[in-house]
């Protein structure tokens, strides 16, 4: 019994899946950057970007429902932008008072909030498509090719590898606990113990999980050292990017730059 549900990768045989991971990574980052740099209230451009990411989703064969469902991940970020409605000065929409403070909601603030929400939602979708259409090892290779520091890439790699081990370990712990969570014949006995006792048990489990992870990291390090690891991460050279893939890269980047330039011209 191993845990795979954490892995967002969905193997398909679409054009998006076959695109070189390096190019996918660059395009996804560029998409997110474009999104971030678009002025707030540039609605037509949001629609254009949405159309763009939607078409990628369709081509990728992942299913729009899958991506849109996962994109609810953006919701908490929207929450962080909520105070903007009340902090940006402008045309007052409504106001209310909390104790001694008078709080105004402004039109400009609302516009900024909606813009940020849309932008983060679009960005998250790009990240989801990237993660779902590229296996994690490929992503690591792509990061390496794009000169992300080697050490960071190998930390990501180890994290990916051992996250599943740790989740497995945690679920085995939970299983062992539920196997011993019985009910007594004794009349009047309160099954389950008190809340604070249960919290203490859970705390103990978290602690022992932490200890084990810590010890495991030691063992892993020893295993690496005994195979010659010296702190330097080495890897095989990467294959060349195919000419057709360069075309995709240039076209994609061109499109995004054009969008951004135009938006900044009109709104900036």
């Amino acid at each position: 019994m191993h845990i795979h549900f954490l892995d967002p990768y969905r193997p398909r045989n679409s054009l998006v899946h076959r695109l070189d991971p390096r190019i996918k990574l660059v395009l996804a980052v560029a998409f997110i950057l474009t999104n971030a740099l678009l002025p707030s209230g540039a609605w037509p451009f949001y629609i254009l970007l949405f159309a763009l990411i939607l078409s990628v989703e369709v081509i990728s064969d992942l299913g729009m429902a899958y991506v849109l469902k996962r994109s609810s991940l953006a919701l908490p970020f929207m929450l962080a932008a909520l105070p903007l409605i009340f902090t940006i000065p402008g045309v007052s929409l409504f106001s209310f008072s909390v104790g001694p403070w008078q709080i105004h909601a402004s039109l400009q603030g609302l516009e900024r909030f909606i813009s940020i929400s849309i932008k983060s939602w679009l960005s998250v979708q790009a990240a989801i498509v990237l993660a779902a259409s590229t296996s994690f090892p490929d992503l690591l290779v792509a990061m390496r090719a794009l000169y992300v520091p080697q050490l960071l890439v190998s930390v990501f790699g180890l994290m990916w590898r051992y996250m599943f081990v740790l989740v497995d370990e945690a679920s085995r712990l939970l299983r062992a606990r539920s196997a011993r969570s019985g009910q007594s014949d004794l009349p009047g006995a309160r099954t389950g113990g008190s809340l604070s006792w249960r919290a203490r048990v859970t705390g103990g489990m978290a602690g022992s999980l932490f200890l084990r992870a810590f010890e495991r990291s030691d063992r892993i390090y020893m295993a690496m050292v005994s195979r010659g690891y010296d702190g330097e991460v080495r890897a095989l050279p990467l294959p060349q990017v195919q000419p057709t893939q360069w075309v995709v890269l240039v076209a994609g980047l061109g499109l995004l730059v054009a969008f951004l330039g135009l938006a900044l011209l009109v709104w900036g």
Partner: protein, 236 residues
């Protein structure tokens, strides 16, 4: 007749489509000690996890006269003591005492009774002096004994062990064998240790590819070299 464990036509398929159990039927009488053997991936662990409802497949599973269904899980789990393969998973509390006390505390037993159960269980595994120790620092053999104590404290009727002698040195293994011989419970033990099977368990069930391929007296089955070889086992 009352059986400690009764399984009829149990089938189980993992969510990813792997068929783990096919039409498993067996019953174990109270006080019987039975070994469950078979190659890796035969479905031994999957079968064991059905006995306290952690997994539930299609078919009938009855333990201590209770059907293993959602409503009975609490009762079932206090009647089935399940010791997992890795004591690391079993021992999740900071100290030995906390771990052995978990089951009784969870059941809401009175404080004095909990203390008494803990002492009793540790006594049974001859580890009474380990009560205040930190489980993290124990040796493998000690951890295995404590892991058994953590379920004995629930006064189970059935003891289920997954690979109890794995990773033990000969002395710890020997003392664990003595311990298993002493305990007067119904036992179902999944193992690869054929010498252990011959020594303690009069009855043996061979599971392969999710099916019960043989179920009978250990001495008879052990003599059938062909049968053993066909299912990836060796004569001790």
């Amino acid at each position: 007749m009352h059986h400690s464990i009764e399984i009829q036509n149990l089938n189980y398929t993992y969510p990813d489509g792997t068929v783990a159990l096919r039409d498993v039927t067996l019953s174990i009488a109270p006080g019987e000690k039975v070994a469950l053997v078979g190659p890796n991936g035969a479905g031994k662990s999957t079968l064991i996890l059905h006995l306290n409802g952690i997994l539930s497949g299609k078919g009938l599973v009855r333990v201590c006269s209770l059907e293993v269904v959602k409503e009975n899980l609490g009762r079932v789990r206090s009647c089935v003591g399940m010791v997992f393969q890795s004591p690391e998973d079993q021992l999740f509390s900071p100290t030995v005492f906390d771990d052995v006390a978990f089951g009784p505390l969870y059941q809401g037993l009175p404080h004095a009774e909990v203390l008494q159960r803990v002492d009793g269980a540790l006594e049974e595994v001859h580890m009474l002096s380990y009560k205040p120790r930190v489980s993290h620092h124990l040796s493998m053999g000690e951890k295995k004994r404590i892991a058994i104590a953590t379920v004995l404290s629930m006064n189970p009727e059935v003891l289920i062990l997954d690979e109890p002698t794995g990773g033990l040195d000969p002395r710890s293994r020997r003392s664990l064998i003595h311990l298993l011989q002493e305990l007067p419970l119904t036992m179902l033990v999944s193992t690869h240790d054929m010498r252990l099977v011959r020594e303690i368990f009069p009855r043996m069930i061979i599971l392969d590819e999710g099916k019960v391929v043989a179920d009978g007296p250990t001495l008879v089955l052990m003599d059938d070299a062909q049968l053993l070889e066909a299912h990836g086992l060796e004569r001790p």
